[in-house]
């Protein structure tokens, strides 16, 4: 046991500074729901960690009675480490106090905790399920569900907002992959929005059809021991309703103590089913649910999150428990230059759309700059070339000459370029990537979607195609309309890449050449021997044999190439989980079964090519030293950098399925409280403003806006769309 004063004294010493008054208020708060509205750079993670530790060390709450959720796994591990370090500091300061084991505390993302708890309690129907990541969920829907065979044009016309690159005007329903992708969007939203299926079915027409198709999907998931991430939350919600789940909440002798405290980080990106889960977890009076977040930084509507949960937390508490939460704002910003804080304060306030009831949390206050960055240098500057085509070069010159060249920074990782999309294409990050490459600046951009463009990946896939399809049947494949399939050029490109390596002089490919020739001969015999049957060898097994040969052996010595090659095996493992990758022969024994090949091209490669594949992200560091990070604004959530360069200022977010569904599903949603009525275009506009607010508030020393005059004029980049004021106040460089 330690008293509160000693507790704070010890931790102040450990972290090297004391908490401010607001932070102390949040940490010291007693019992009941707590609503911490924490603006950018206000030290919310510190508050969360300190509050959790105060519960354990001062209030003597058992660690197992606390559940703390973070938005990412990395954040969870960081928090655990911080807790362990502080605990050590407390033990040093108070050696007589005895040791405490905080490893029992449940810390993680909500998904990870739901999964762990369901496994721990052996929840029926959730044992041994395979959790479907994005790729596998899409493959599952494509392969196993009724909705992909539903080709009613009228039905899909009603949901055209969920279908990409398709218009009902052509008179055809979307193709199978487009249907599968749209189905995933619809199904995830139905699950996460806690839709009442009976009400949806009662609406008749396309809604009734969708409800039936959704029920089919759910049943198929269960039958095949699969679960997607949206349904993981649903299963957990179901668990909490039954005696087994009540045993988890209320505790049981010898097994587990009751759950008494729930702390949630990044609450602004919570979705409705998560909101219900958190309220259910805190069902025990006095409802110790602490939520921390900033509605202005809500970014994840496209993944089902809705800022309404954060904005209306008081209503949720009132409706559910008849209790009002204590609101504590954290308004001191310890991150940014004063001018940056003034800029983003003014920015978020300046739009009339953001000042409507229900859009921002009540009583929202401006952030107060406290970082004390050098005032001799500007906090906000503008790189404004005449032509949009020069932006990449202007930004690269600035970083190379004005920052690195002038000794302002000593490592490229002290800057970040934030864009709406970091795909390596001419309309997205391509010009920046090229300009930086021209100057020899190494870039870290794992989400460039260029995984399939790399030589080693193309060659490995090229070998598979060479073995399975020596007649190059992919070149004569056609859609029902007689058009070449969208994947054809990519697959031909992979084979070309292989040819270049086999015929070039960079590597000794004798063994690989020999392997291909011998394998083709062996396969011809195997097809004959197993006509119409399986051959007993899988694609992944073949991959490993190929990886044992040059040039793959050499490539595996390079960390980046090795990581990509390992990812190829993981992608095939996903395909293998559908039991589709064991080679099969045609009934006449002449070649590989054509439906095996067709599935590989249309279903698997087709998806990879259409969706693009990202490189793996480093799960230990945010940015490797020596590299200039290029990130989406979503990626930059929770991060900070000395210099933040924000590009793509002229482009708006598309009104997408998430905005449309937020409105369309409203009649069926089991809302706890009325939400502000907003049209999809207003929601999209709010999302754009919040996105830029997040980007602007990442900067420590300076925020650098990169855009032409026309771009800044045409969009919500400038506070209040006031281009003249922007031009007058922001220094151009």
């Amino acid at each position: 046991m330690i008293n509160l004063t000693d507790f704070h004294q010890a931790l102040d010493q450990a972290r090297g500074y004391p908490l401010n008054g607001q932070q102390r208020q949040a940490v010291d708060f007693g019992t009941g729901p707590l609503w911490i509205i924490a603006g950018p750079g206000s030290g919310k993670s510190e508050v969360l960690a300190t509050r959790a530790l105060k519960l354990i060390c001062v209030d003597r709450v058992e660690p197992r009675s606390i559940l703390l959720t973070t938005f990412t796994k990395k954040a969870a591990r960081n928090l655990e480490d911080r807790l362990a370090a502080y605990l050590l500091a407390l033990q040093r300061a108070q050696p007589a106090r005895g040791s405490l084991d905080i490893s029992d505390m449940r810390v993680g993302t909500l998904h990870a905790l739901c999964n762990d708890i369901l496994q721990e309690f052996r929840f029926p129907g959730y044992q041994n399920v395979r959790l479907l990541e994005d790729l596998e969920q899409h493959l599952f829907v494509y392969k196993h569900t009724a909705i992909v065979d539903h080709t009613d044009l009228a039905f899909w016309t009603k949901f055209d907002y969920a279908v990409t690159r398709w218009s009902p005007n052509g008179g055809y329903p979307p193709n199978k992959w487009a249907r599968a992708k749209a189905a995933v969007i619809l199904f995830n939203h139905i699950a996460e929005d806690l839709v009442d299926l009976a009400r949806m079915r009662a609406a008749g027409g396309h809604w009734a059809t969708l409800a039936d198709l959704y029920v089919d999907y759910e049943a198929t998931l269960r039958d095949r021991y699969r679960c997607d991430y949206a349904h993981l939350q649903q299963r957990f919600w179901e668990f909490l309703q039954v005696p087994m789940g009540q045993g988890f909440l209320n505790g049981s002798p010898d097994k587990n103590p009751p759950l008494t405290h729930v702390l949630v980080d990044e609450y602004q990106d919570t979705n409705p089913i998560q909101e219900r889960i958190y309220l259910a977890l805190a069902q025990q009076a006095p409802h110790n649910l602490t939520v921390v977040g900033d509605d202005d930084q809500a970014l994840y509507r496209f993944r089902g999150g809705t800022v309404a949960c954060m904005v209306n937390f008081d209503q949720a508490c009132q409706v559910t428990w008849g209790v009002a939460p204590q609101q504590v704002p954290l308004t001191d910003n310890y991150r940014s230059h004063d001018e940056v804080v003034q800029f983003f304060n003014g920015y978020i306030r300046s739009f009339t759309e953001m000042n409507q009831p229900g859009v921002r949390a009540p009583n929202k206050q401006d952030m107060v700059p406290q970082a004390g960055r050098p005032a001799a240098h500007p906090g906000v500057v503008w790189i404004s070339p005449r032509r949009a085509g020069d932006l990449g070069h202007a930004v690269a010159d600035f970083i190379q000459q004005d920052l690195m060249g002038a000794g302002v920074i000593s490592d490229w990782s002290q800057c970040v370029i934030l864009l709406r999309s970091v795909q390596d294409t001419p309309r997205n990050a391509g010009p920046y990537i090229q300009a930086l490459a021209d100057r020899g600046i190494p870039v870290y951009n794992p989400r460039s979607r260029s995984f399939l463009d790399s030589e080693e990946v193309q060659c490995l896939l090229g070998v598979l195609i060479r073995l399975l399809d020596p007649a190059q049947s992919y070149m004569s494949a056609a859609t029902p309309n007689g058009q070449p399939p969208f994947w054809q050029a990519s697959i031909a490109g992979w084979c070309d890449a292989l040819d270049q390596v086999l015929t070039g002089n960079a590597h000794d490919t004798t063994a690989l050449d020999d392997y291909i020739h011998r394998s083709l001969a062996a396969l011809a015999q195997e097809y004959q021997r197993h006509a119409g049957r399986f051959l007993g060898v899988t694609l992944t097994e073949i991959l490993y044999r190929v990886l044992a040969l040059e040039p793959f052996r050499t490539w595996r010595q390079d960390p980046n190439r090795n990581l990509r090659l390992s990812k190829v095996t993981r992608l095939f493992e996903s395909y293998h989980s559908f039991n589709l990758d064991t080679l099969r022969a045609e009934p006449d024994g002449s070649q590989v079964a054509q439906n095996f090949l067709g599935q590989l091209y249309w279903m698997f490669f087709g998806y990879l090519i259409a969706s693009g594949v990202d490189d793996d992200e480093d799960d230990e560091v945010i940015v490797p030293p020596g590299y200039l990070p290029m990130m989406t604004i979503h990626q930059a959530k929770g991060l900070e950098f000395p210099f933040v360069i924000v590009g793509h200022l002229g482009s708006s977010g598309r009104i997408g399925a998430s905005q449309a569904l937020e409105v369309e599903l409203a009649p069926f949603r089991q809302d706890l409280y009325p939400r502000a009525a907003r049209t999809p275009d207003l929601l999209a506009l709010e999302d754009d403003i919040r996105l830029l607010y997040v980007a602007y508030s990442r900067a420590e020393y300076a925020l650098v806006l990169a855009g032409t005059q026309a771009q800044v004029k045409s969009h919500v980049a400038a506070p209040g769309r006031d281009y003249t004021g922007f031009r007058r106040t922001v220094r151009t460089i």
């Binding site: 990395k74 591990r77 960081n78 655990e80 480490d81 362990a84 084991d101 490893s103 052996r122 044992q127 041994n128 395979r130 095949r224 021991y225 050098p374 001799a376 240098h377 500007p378 500057v381 000459q401 004005d402 002038a406 302002v408 920074i409 000593s410 002290q414 073995l467 392997y515 394998s519 083709l520 001969a521 062996a522 396969l523 060898v537 899988t538 992944t540 097994e541 991959l543 490993y544 044999r545 990886l547 044992a548 040969l549 052996r553 960390p559 990581l563 090659l565 390992s566 990812k567 095996t569 993981r570 493992e573 293998h576 989980s577 230990e620 560091v621 020393y701 300076a702 220094r731 460089i733």
Partner: protein
């Protein structure tokens, strides 16, 4: 245009590194078996072509876990206090007949026959789930062997053991200065007359037989159990009374054993038989392994186990064998086509 940031110098701050988490079995034991395999599958995240090597151990663990759940009435309170099937053992012929009936029903599009016993039902449910993970039995014989052993264990140990199980899959961990070491113990078994943690035992199932086990593997398993004893002490403040390694493979045979085979368990009595030095030695050995892993990571160097240090069986199912000199007594294996 002048540079507005001229004269500013931003200090480079090292970002705080996250402590790595090391699992006793998946990291330390795996690395000690073969660093090359460990590097490829655990660090660089290559996906194995087949998870068949996982099938046997996993199916045994999971079905036995359901047996404990059955006895505790976790899913259905009416089974509380009951050994599944009252320890009934079906013959191989009966099991094979049921598997054949299922196959026929599937082929003919008919509903599958009801499982003849609870154990068979648990077994089939576990198999279904594992299939979704890509984990399958490599041969029908392996399925039969797994189910046979489970039945034998249930009949032999269930009546006495199940009632003593206080917890299953007990999670333990130690926060070391540079890393976190964690493990999961299969069973926490209590003394029926004294529930004090110092009277409890920790049990760990191994799917294989003890006979024929490589000396190095046995040594690693013993170290593993001593490390678990230490982690247990960190959690409960006292050492367990005993740690037990149960080699399930020793139960196999034509007939269900009526008494526990001599080699089925390896028991380490803590209080009387094991000094704190032995536990310290095991902890030090594992800490040294963690250091070696860190060195391998830093240099990205993952040497294969030397011939004889790893079983041929482990090499025979390794996807990296095609360009590895270790298997086959150091001869390597010939490439297959395709």
């Amino acid at each position: 245009m002048t540079n507005p940031f001229q004269g500013l110098s931003v200090p480079l701050t090292a970002s705080a590194s996250i402590k790595r988490r090391y699992s006793v079995t998946q990291d330390v034991v795996s690395y000690r078996r073969c660093a090359r395999q460990y590097g490829a599958f655990n660090v660089h995240n290559y996906a194995p072509a087949h998870q068949t090597q996982l099938y046997f151990g996993t199916v045994l663990h999971q079905v036995l876990d359901r047996c404990h759940g059955h006895f505790q009435g976790l899913v259905n309170s009416s089974t509380k206090g009951q050994v599944p099937d009252q320890g009934r053992v079906l013959s191989d012929a009966e099991l094979q007949q049921h598997f054949a009936d299922i196959r026929n029903a599937i082929d003919n599009g008919q509903p599958q026959p009801a499982p003849p016993t609870d154990l068979v039902r648990y077994f089939l449910e576990v198999e279904q789930g594992l299939r979704s993970q890509g984990i399958r039995a490599i041969t029908p014989d392996l399925r039969l062997k797994a189910l046979r052993i489970i039945q034998y264990f249930n009949a032999l140990e269930g009546p006495e053991l199940y009632a003593r199980v206080r917890d299953t899959e007990l999670r333990l961990q130690a926060d070391r200065q540079s890393h976190i070491l964690h493990g999961v113990v299969d069973l926490l078994v209590e003394n029926p007359n004294n529930a004090d943690p110092s009277e409890c035992e920790i049990w760990d199932y191994k799917g294989m037989s003890r006979v024929g086990l490589l000396r190095a593997d046995l040594q690693t398993y013993l170290f593993q159990m001593r490390v678990y004893a230490h982690l247990y002490e960190l959690k409960f403040g006292v050492l367990p009374k005993r740690v037990v390694l149960y080699f399930l493979g020793e139960l196999d045979g034509d007939r269900a054993p009526h008494t526990r085979p001599a080699n089925a368990t390896l028991e380490l009595a803590i209080h009387n038989g094991m000094s704190s030095n032995e536990i310290g030695e095991a902890m030090q050995a594992f800490a040294d392994t963690v250091k070696e892993i860190e060195t391998s990571r830093a240099q990205d160097h993952w040497p294969a186990a030397s011939p004889g240090e790893i079983s041929e069986q482990d090499c025979a199912i390794c996807d990296l064998r095609w360009d590895c000199a270790t298997p086959n007594g150091g001869q390597g294996v010939a490439l297959r086509y395709p």
